[in-house]
């Protein structure tokens, strides 16, 4: 007897739902082993994580605070991945979004006063910052065929170092009592709050997810983008300009991550300071992958990841376990998920001992 993969004629739909679900369960089981090995009751820990995320309106608002950037970066990554453009630079694009919004916040908006127009300007600057940081690798890829995985990766670190330089150096608030960070923006450009620390950013993110889903699945342009990713040769034959489409899609992808960074500084910290490079851009890759690059599923996957992060923080407070529990569970989801993907494209066949053709 021998095991062999056989290509399916059509991707299995059932497995696109089952595999992520099974992966989540597997990661919880593996996590439970880890917890038990550390003499922590897994059931209690998971219960605390769940209650920490949904136990009260405030706790849930914290989930929304984390989910907002995760949805936006997840959408950005999913859009790029649909074109087989391996943009792993959402982290850097998010940071440049934060820098863009801060330029408007610090140098365009008056220190006191300002109005809604400045907020809109800051949001646009955030999108421009993200688009710039994604546009460079997109141009390099389409014009010079430079590998995008490596350029986006390198640019993440360049982004982290540039924003750290800015808030530690030239933009540092001289009246900040030695605290590294820029001065606070005028209240007029703070993103309006919903509950707790959550802002209207989540509503915008949800609307964008819907729009993106519509564009990708119901319009001609969305069809063209999917074709470029799935079958570039057919796209070429049908006269679709891949390079132009990749560039436009990547500018949007970067703008979405930039928006995430903009919402962070305009809605949460109200200044440029540390805390933009928390790894949202990398988590976004798990999210996009879990969601099979579908914008609506991205929302669900992002909520789940946000829950794990907030739950991890709660576990630290209540059970005195390191908050990294959430990160560990996140990392554990992806591995069975990636391995499981093979089952949607292939089926396992037992074949007899006779020589296979």
């Amino acid at each position: 007897m021998k095991l062999r993969f056989e290509k399916r004629l059509e991707a299995s739909h059932l497995s696109t739902i089952l595999v992520p679900l099974a992966s989540f369960v597997i990661s919880l089981l593996l996590g439970a082993l880890l917890l038990a090995a550390n003499k922590a009751n897994p059931w209690q820990t998971y219960h605390a994580m769940f209650m920490g995320s949904f136990g009260s309106l405030y706790n849930f608002s914290e989930v929304i605070v984390k989910a907002t950037p995760l949805i936006l970066t997840g959408l950005g990554v999913a859009l790029a991945f649909r074109l087989r453009f391996w943009n792993i630079g959402a982290e850097g694009q998010l940071i440049w979004g934060g820098i863009g919004a801060s330029v408007v916040g610090l140098f365009v908006t008056p220190a006191q006063g300002g109005n809604l127009i400045y907020l809109l300007l800051a949001i646009m600057a955030a999108m421009a910052g993200g688009a710039l940081w994604a546009g460079i690798p997109a141009l390099l890829k389409t014009r010079l065929k430079v590998d995008e995985t490596l350029t986006t990766l390198m640019m993440n670190y360049m982004a982290i170092l540039s924003y750290q330089y800015l808030y530690n150096g030239p933009w540092r608030d001289p009246e900040g009592f030695g605290f590294p960070g820029s001065r606070q923006f005028s209240q007029a450009i703070w993103l309006p709050k919903l509950v707790g620390r959550s802002t209207i950013g989540i509503i915008i993110a949800l609307v964008i997810a819907l729009v993106l889903w519509f564009v990708l699945t119901k319009t001609k342009w969305g069809f063209e983008l999917t074709m470029i990713g799935k079958n570039p040769r057919a796209a070429h034959v049908l006269g679709v300009n891949s390079n132009k489409n990749i560039l436009v899609a990547l500018l949007i992808s970067g703008a979405l991550s930039g928006l995430a960074g903009g919402f962070e500084v305009l809605g949460v910290s109200h200044r440029l300071q540390q805390g933009l490079n928390l790894g949202y851009g990398y988590t976004a890759i798990i999210i996009a992958w879990m969601a099979a690059l579908n914008p609506l599923s991205v929302v669900l996957a992002a909520l789940l990841m946000a829950m794990l992060l907030v739950g991890g923080d709660q576990v630290q407070m209540i059970m005195r376990l390191p908050s990294a529990v959430g990160l560990v569970l996140q990392g554990l989801i992806l591995i069975p998920l990636l391995g499981g993907a093979v089952f949607s494209e292939y089926r396992l066949r037992f074949i007899g001992d006779k020589k296979d053709v």
Binding site: L140, L144, T151, M158, P322, A324
Partner: protein, 317 residues
């Protein structure tokens, strides 16, 4: 002046050691056609393992062995996902980095003794010390090469050995064939899957030793995120070195040197230029990546393995 250059060179070599181990390993992995972006996570987990084992057992050999084992196991996961299950190499590598980052942070706060609040932070363990080689270490300037720890000395042999293996041996030939064109390699009778497994795991083992050098020699002790992005510099170094072990050594010295100079600058209180210095490795790599695709001369010098990043599906004809 000699003193300053000499001491800078000494730090450079120490800083470059962990980079070079991981880079040599990743060169072999990538030469076989597998891109492993899990180095950062692998180095973190190995640094943690090395420190923990050294702390509890007091044996440095056991510590390095366990760190190498950890690295090997993590990259075995990568190999299973990408070689057998044909998963996406980029996403798989990143997930290993995410897992390694989370798990090392978690375990770092759990594996310590109760007296230290279960954390490993702030503990002291057995570590590697520099061994001075008599006479040679007294040479001005170059003496720095002979005032290092044993893991660094080992590299003096490993660099030529890996180069000879890669370019002058039968094994190296088949390894390069696997990464360049797996279909042709199969026709030549090479077992592509097996080679990819071997060199992916080898890459993990080397990253593991690199990680051990961090927590046992370069910055002895455990702290969260002890690698500080070195795993990503390794990815950059492999490109900078054009997948060549010899050039990897110069690259590691250059990138390690940048690290050493920044160490100095921080000590002297100037904080600002360090951001730019830190950015240099990534910027240089970006420029190399662009040049690789632009100038025909550079194109010949820097060619990535032809099948890098792509799963090998034997049934597709």
């Amino acid at each position: 002046m000699f003193d300053l250059v000499g001491s800078l060179l000494m730090i450079t070599l120490a800083a470059g050691t962990s980079l070079l181990y991981a880079t040599l390993g990743e060169i072999f992995t990538e030469k076989s056609g597998i891109l492993n972006l899990g180095i950062e996570g692998t180095m973190l987990m190995s640094a943690l393992t090395a420190f923990t084992v050294s702390y509890y057992s007091g044996s440095l050999i056991l510590a390095v062995f366990c760190a190498a084992l950890t690295g090997g196991l993590l990259s075995l996961i990568h190999a299973i996902i990408t070689v057998t299950l044909r998963g996406n190499q980029v996403v798989s590598g990143l997930s290993i980095t995410l897992l390694g980052t989370g798990l090392s942070s978690f375990l770092g706060q759990r594996l310590g003794p109760e007296s230290n609040g279960f954390t490993l932070f702030g503990l002291n363990a057995h570590r590697f010390h520099a061994i001075e080689i008599p006479l040679l270490s007294n040479i001005p300037f170059l003496g720095a090469f002979f005032h290092q720890d044993i893991l660094t000395y080992l590299l003096y042999f490993l660099v030529p050995a890996t180069w000879i293996f890669l370019y002058r041996s039968r094994y190296g030939l088949s390894l390069r064939a696997v990464g360049e064109n797996p279909r042709t390699a199969t026709a030549m009778g090479i077992h592509v899957m097996k080679e990819r497994y071997i060199y992916t795991v080898f890459g993990g083992i080397m990253s593991g030793i690199g990680g051990a050098h961090l927590s046992l020699a370069y910055t002895p002790g455990w702290s969260e995120n002890i690698t500080g992005g070195r795993g990503w510099i390794v990815i950059a170094l492999v490109i900078f070195a054009a997948w060549n072990p010899g050039r990897a050594m110069f690259g590691a010295l250059l990138f390690g040197g940048i690290n050493a100079i920044q160490f100095r600058l921080q000590a002297s209180g100037t904080n600002i230029p360090s951001a730019f210095l830190n950015m240099l490795p990534y910027l240089i790599t970006l420029v190399v990546l662009v040049l690789m695709n632009v100038s025909p001369r550079m194109q010949r010098r820097f060619t990535a393995p032809g099948a890098l990043g792509r799963a090998y599906v034997p049934e597709d004809k």
